[in-house]
């Protein structure tokens, strides 16, 4: 089995050899390491993408907008992902961002995961019929984990998920009330002697 360190080094060097700058290659190395750590097919997709990159051209998406459409060529997943990562703070207010035709979109995914950490919000990536929930770059949930090579994402949608509770207030109150059963009711003596300070906070 290859170590993650080997995976990162080889991905970085091959990205440079494929024509990316060293700085971008460093990003790709980290991304593929992350995909493989989460059990996603990073090496496979990178290898296939670099195989066809010599034969086929891809659109470089340097500035991300609400709807990103390409008419002729598929978007390069690395340039698009990097642009998203770099611009994510200004993209947050758009709530949803659409892309048409991203090549090898699994290579795009780690940039979105890292962006989730930067803005401190979950991001949802919908890729045709597959959904990935990216949790602050700590974990990735998906209904499609072992698809191997994905050559193209025809319709890609990124949703910014607001930081809000996943439960109702009454559900919280009910559980909180139950948790109160671990507290001790204070009598006068406990009120006087139980805490280090006096009865008022500001004395």
């Amino acid at each position: 089995m290859k170590s993650l360190s080997e995976i990162e080094t080889v991905s970085k060097r091959s990205s440079k050899a494929a024509g990316f700058s060293w700085g971008v290659a460093e990003e790709v190395g980290k991304n593929i390491r992350m995909l493989e750590m989460f059990g996603l097919s990073g090496i496979k997709n990178l290898n296939y993408y670099f195989r066809i990159r010599d034969k086929k051209k891809f659109e470089k998406l340097n500035i991300i907008s609400k709807e990103n459409v390409t008419n002729k060529l598929d978007f390069c997943p690395i340039v698009s992902g990097l642009s998203f990562l770099d611009q994510v703070r200004s993209l947050e207010s758009l709530n949803e961002i659409k892309f048409k035709r991203i090549a090898y979109p699994l290579l795009f995914l780690p940039f979105i995961s890292r962006a989730s950490e930067i803005i401190g919000k979950r991001l949802q990536l919908e890729l045709d019929n597959k959904v990935f929930l990216l949790n602050y770059n700590i974990s990735i949930f998906s209904n499609s984990l072992n698809d191997g090579i994905i050559e193209s994402g025809k319709d890609v949608l990124i949703k910014f998920i607001d930081n809000k509770d996943s439960f109702e207030e009454n559900e919280w109150r009910e559980l909180y009330k139950l948790s109160e059963n671990t507290f001790v009711e204070e009598n006068d003596s406990l009120k006087q002697g139980g805490a280090g300070a006096g009865l008022t906070d500001n004395d």
Partner: protein, 553 residues
């Protein structure tokens, strides 16, 4: 009195970094301190009469066990080479996580001796190989087998029975990635497991030499005197493979230097130096002279440095004995100022290291801060502005942005990875092919390029927009934001200039390892000795922390 940390623009020059010496912060010393309470055991020793076979050594505490597995093999004279191009060695080693099963030992027997072309697993932590110092090994065997101890003078000239030519860790060749083990408290300091491997290999060399001597003459043979064992270390040949490491791990480099600088600052801030502390300082200083007078090298470059170090030290000792009173306030600060004025870099850094000896209370808390979670600082803050980035460059790289890279001498070399050994190399870009495949190690040149680009960019523009058009500078944009937070993260020198001494980069790293007796064999590789004078495993529970200065050599 508040003392400022030393200026990175001075300390991070290669000539200064190449003058660093081992200290209490060094990794082999902090390794011994951490593992002194662990149970040491020789678990297996199955060597034939010539010393070939398998051995296992372990350190154990509670439920944690680390085991060194050694494979000693016969090697023809014409196959023995210290060069990285070698494919066979006298012995090969791996540090296994836990107690190896018979199956593990068999599996590894086929892989460990192959080194770079073998495959390890996540159960192995470090990997190494070593060659005998044949002349010395044979001399020791011959004498022991006759019931005699070897010639100490001969031993002291070399200093070791074996020398390693590489020690690998952190995921190389399938070894365990650091993330799997990084939360173990006993290995919070850097390179702990690499140090453990080297330390146990040292013990193997003593056991092997005793074993071979005993088999040669079972009736007469004696064991190598433990005091002589103590005076021997493990040699190491180190080439350029180590140099890029310190460029590629900027926050780690910062944390090493920052620990050293913080220690010095705190020592200089001591108002009243206790007599016992000044006495210990003076004792270590005097004893340390033995390490210099027994420092053998053929390198004219190093011989000059050693001579100048000796001259400066004699001058300093005279000053200390005749003109200095430790009862005055801030005595170490005064010593430091004297050194800055009267001594060269080599001597100044030598004394800085010895100043740390009395101060466990200052040094120990710094040791655990010498690792780094580099991933945390990888993302570029792309919401910052061009003006801010320009200010960082002007503030943190003032001398770098003054270098004229259109001059041939400033742009003479390039770093590359050799295809046959996948190792870093340095070559003249005007004479050799391959500069188009240059590694991103010309940081000074690329920082200058970045500065020139920023200079013609709109100040209020944000970095995300700058990067959209300047992807080729992304690696140095990242570094600039790192140095903003980590002032000692960058070598403040030109690593591709005509006058670069790559061994300065090696020596910096090796000094933090705790190496002694740097012996440059060219400007690109050197030999060193590790653990010379260190306690033997059975002596660890109660050892003298200042052992470095008590070596027989």
């Amino acid at each position: 009195m508040k003392i400022e940390l030393r200026d990175p623009n001075i300390i991070m020059k290669l000539s200064r970094l190449g003058s660093f010496h081992q200290s209490k912060l060094s990794f082999l010393r902090s390794f011994l301190k951490e593992f002194k309470d662990w149970d040491y055991k020789k678990d297996l020793f199955q060597l034939n009469e010539f010393g070939y076979g398998t051995a296992v050594y372990s350190f154990k505490k509670d439920k944690r066990v680390y085991s060194l597995i050694c494979y000693a093999n016969e090697l023809n004279e014409n196959e023995r080479s210290d060069r990285v191009i070698a494919t066979k060695w006298d012995a090969a080693f791996t540090l296994h996580d836990g107690v190896p099963t018979k199956k593990d030992i068999e599996r590894l027997k086929n892989e460990v001796p192959k080194q770079e072309v073998g495959r390890l697993s996540y159960k192995e932590l470090t990997l190494s190989r070593a060659n005998k110092s044949v002349r010395l090994f044979n001399h020791v065997v011959e004498n022991l087998s006759k019931g005699l101890q070897p010639d100490i003078n001969l031993l002291s000239k070399v200093g070791y029975l074996y020398r390693t030519t590489a020690v690998y860790g952190s995921g190389k060749f399938g070894l365990a990635d650091r993330f799997r083990i990084k939360n173990r408290e006993e290995i919070y300091g850097p390179f702990r497991l690499e140090m453990m491997l080297v330390y146990l290999v040292r013990q193997f060399t003593f056991d092997q030499v005793n074993h071979v001597a005993k088999n040669m003459n079972p009736k007469k043979a004696v064991k190598l005197d433990p005091e002589i064992c103590k005076s021997l270390g493990i040699g190491n040949s180190t080439g350029l493979g180590m140099a890029p490491f310190i460029v590629n791990h900027p926050t780690l480099l910062n944390n090493w230097i920052y620990a050293r600088e913080t220690a010095l600052k705190k020592i200089r801030e001591i108002k009243h130096v206790k007599t016992e502390d000044s006495n210990l300082f003076k004792l270590c200083l005097k004893k340390s002279l033995k390490n210099i007078t027994s420092w053998n090298t053929d390198s004219e470059y190093q011989l000059n440095k050693i001579q100048s170090l000796l001259n400066d030290l004699n001058h300093f000792i005279t000053f200390l004995e005749k003109n200095f009173d430790f009862s005055k306030e801030f005595a170490f600060n005064e010593i430091y100022y004297w050194l800055e004025k009267n001594a060269g870099d080599e001597c100044t850094e030598y004394i800085v290291s010895i100043m740390m000896e009395p101060y466990d209370d200052i040094i120990n808390p710094l040791i655990n801060g010498m690792s780094s979670e580099e991933e945390k600082y990888f993302n570029i803050p792309t919401n910052r502005t061009v003006a801010e980035l320009k200010n960082i460059l002007e503030d943190k790289y003032p001398k770098i942005i003054d270098i004229d890279f259109s001059k041939k001498e400033n742009n003479k070399n390039f770093w590359f990875i050799s295809k046959n050994k996948e190792e870093p190399r340095l070559a003249d870009r005007f004479k050799e092919n391959g500069s188009e495949l240059e590694q991103p190690l010309a940081i000074a040149r690329d920082i200058k390029k970045l500065y020139e680009k920023l200079y013609v960019s709109k100040n209020s523009s944000t970095i995300d927009k700058f990067l959209a058009n300047n992807s080729d500078l992304r690696h140095v944009v990242r570094r600039a934001f790192i140095i903003e937070k980590f002032p000692y993260s960058e070598i403040q020198d030109n690593t591709i200039g005509e006058s670069i001494m790559p061994i300065d980069m090696l020596r910096l790293k090796l000094s933090f390892f705790g190496a002694l007796k740097f012996d440059p064999r060219s400007d690109k590789w050197l030999r060193i000795c590790m653990f010379q004078g260190a306690p033997l495993p059975e002596q660890l529970k109660d050892y003298d922390d200042h052992w470095v200065y008590n070596s027989l050599n």
